[in-house]
Subunit: 224 residues, 4 copies
């Protein structure tokens, strides 16, 4: 199948990240698709993902603080709002159905792979600027979109998870984020941004974050 | 009239800030109350206040990034959302009625007093933590609440501005922010927070930000 | 006389900053040159400059934290070291001769113009990256170099101050900082950096910091 | 043998960190003591440690930027200076003797355990304040001191490494850093700092950084 179109920077970053296939076609993902991923691993992943989302929301809030235009600020703050007031409550509801209550969820000890990833993203944002944050956040947002698009319609016990990311709403979000990134690059670096050293450095950020996504799935599979 | 109750930290900070009366009973404020503030000064203030709001929203976004609990993050991100998706559009509408369009508003050159204030708040947040941000943000949020409560019902040509800050909705926001601050202090410093050197330092931040609010009104009056 | 050569970015920034002459040929500077600046104003300036230096050293430390190469880190950390272990002690000694002891110096209340400038620089650094810091720091470092070079040999009661900045050691530092900036631009943006929107934004940072330098001299002259 | 005295906060943090023994008595450390650690693992560790030192120096530079007193700033900037102008050149020399040149050293790809640790420390510093940085930096600085003190005199092929950290100079540095931390706590939180929630949170930071030190030794042993 074809790769979804989330803009030009994503296409370039994706092509230059050695770990992209290892991430988006990870055994954990295949287990979700076939429906044979053990429930215990999925729940371990869900718990860690909740802690991840907290830091992810912090990183988008930092993006709003570092935005250069009103449009960037609105896009970033809308994402924070959606994460904090919609996605995290949904996560809570999903976990509650599995017998994990809010207190247990919030008390989840952070796995090393989780900590490595979230702190990498936040530090990229604090040390760098809006573009550094976008490059570090993109593998998660857009990678889940690509996985969702590929797995859409697989059904099975993980069909709900798959449909969340493969659905029209999330796919539209991915296209919006892709456009936000392309616009931010032009705004700062001009039309020839893909030829600048700055872009090479951003590609490295994307590749590192992709590597950390692989570690996150590994953590989910190993249950550690 | 009595001072509105926005919590314990506010009462202490307010009492310890030498410039509090100079800020909340500034000639600019009295001009709003009596309705004899020249329109040109009000418009100059409105334009600068729009630029101020952008940085103010950035500071609240930084607060969301530096929050320590989900509750703090939700409160901060809801404030960003309200600023970016409600207060700034309202500002745009109000200015449009006065013949200042969006492009003119966004192109407003930052007055030195504006720049001094906004960068002080943001730097406090970046250098320090959530509490430093709250202490630097409080004079604006809660001072406008106190001014609004005192001027409520004054009517006159600035009645709309007065009613915004004196109204029930904004007063409720001030009580919420006051509770957020008191809760954040207990969460980090325990019940005896008001006796710690950390609190003295926060009082100094509040006092400095209050001094910068005086400078902001001065700028409004002088038109420079 | 000719303008000293502190590199290509400086030449471009300097040419694009409307306030450059107002800063480098300010009445305060002319008073230093002619020797008729009242002593009280000079001492007021010296006290504020000490507080300024503390924040200036913090900003260079932040530059070391945000450096991208070992060379940038070494240059920034050497500057911090020189400021903290040499320039600030010298300042202390100079003030001591004037009867201002260390305790009095450290207790200096920050003037608004001082606060505006230092927080602008630090916030530029926290919000942005190494280049934003360099653009915000350059007017001070290199402007003093240009002033020193022009005033060198004027003698008079302020001859010691003039010789510090006009002397070979400080002039060499200015050339080093200029080269650091040009190198940092090429490293991130390639050889065509002067044609990118990013550079326009950096020029605006330089111009704003220049405007704040004018405010600093104004503060020195007015004694407020 | 007795534990070295690096101050009160260290004693409390050390006692509350579940992983402290796992870190300071790790198989990698025992291999250094007995001299039977394979050379390849030591060299893998050395390479990664060089990359670590760069980020470690960045973190100390951030501490200088976030210092609250001149004394804190001088202590932090002196550490950066020592790291950048002494320890890193020594590392380069040691590696050169092993046939690893500067270019190879600087090109070392960051191992996940390295990345996790350094970004955790830097993010703690950016998100929090000077105390957060100290708590995150302490396990490395003071843990190496404790290991050095215990292994001192073991001799063997790793005797030079052991003597660096067990020697009088490094032990004095540890006592200075311990005093800096205790002083910073009193300065901000008063004499009763060990009873405040803030201190509990700092202890968690220390414990997390300790856990990441264990991961660093694991990485050294596994060669991955």
């Amino acid at each position: 199948m074809s790769v979804p179109d989330y803009g030009r920077a994503f296409a370039l970053w994706r092509g230059a990240a050695p770990g992209w296939q290892a991430y988006t076609r990870h055994a954990f993902v295949e287990g979700l698709r076939r429906g044979d991923l053990p429930r215990a691993n999925f729940l371990h992943y869900l718990r860690q993902d909740y802690v991840f989302l907290i830091h992810f929301a912090r990183a988008w809030a930092l993006a709003a603080a570092k935005a250069d235009t009103l449009n960037e600020m609105q896009a970033a703050s809308a994402t924070v709002h959606a994460l904090v007031h919609q996605e995290m409550p949904l996560h809570l509801a999903l976990c509650a159905r599995e017998g994990i209550d809010a207190a247990a969820l919030e008390a989840t000890p952070e796995a090393p792979a989780n900590l490595a990833y979230t702190r990498y993203v936040l530090e990229a944002g604090y040390s760098g600027d809006f573009l550094d944050l976008m490059a570090a956040l993109a593998p998660c947002v857009l990678g889940y979109g690509e996985i969702g698009a590929r797995l859409a319609g697989s059904g099975g016990v993980y069909g709900e998870w798959i449909d969340t990311y493969g659905g029209a709403e999330y796919q539209a979000l991915c296209r919006d984020v892709g456009a936000l990134i392309d616009g931010a690059l032009v705004h700062r670096l001009g039309e020839g941004w893909d030829g600048l050293p700055r872009f090479t450095r951003l590609s490295q950020r994307f590749a590192t974050a992709t590597r950390l996504e692989v570690g996150f799935w590994d953590m989910g599979l190993s249950g550690a």
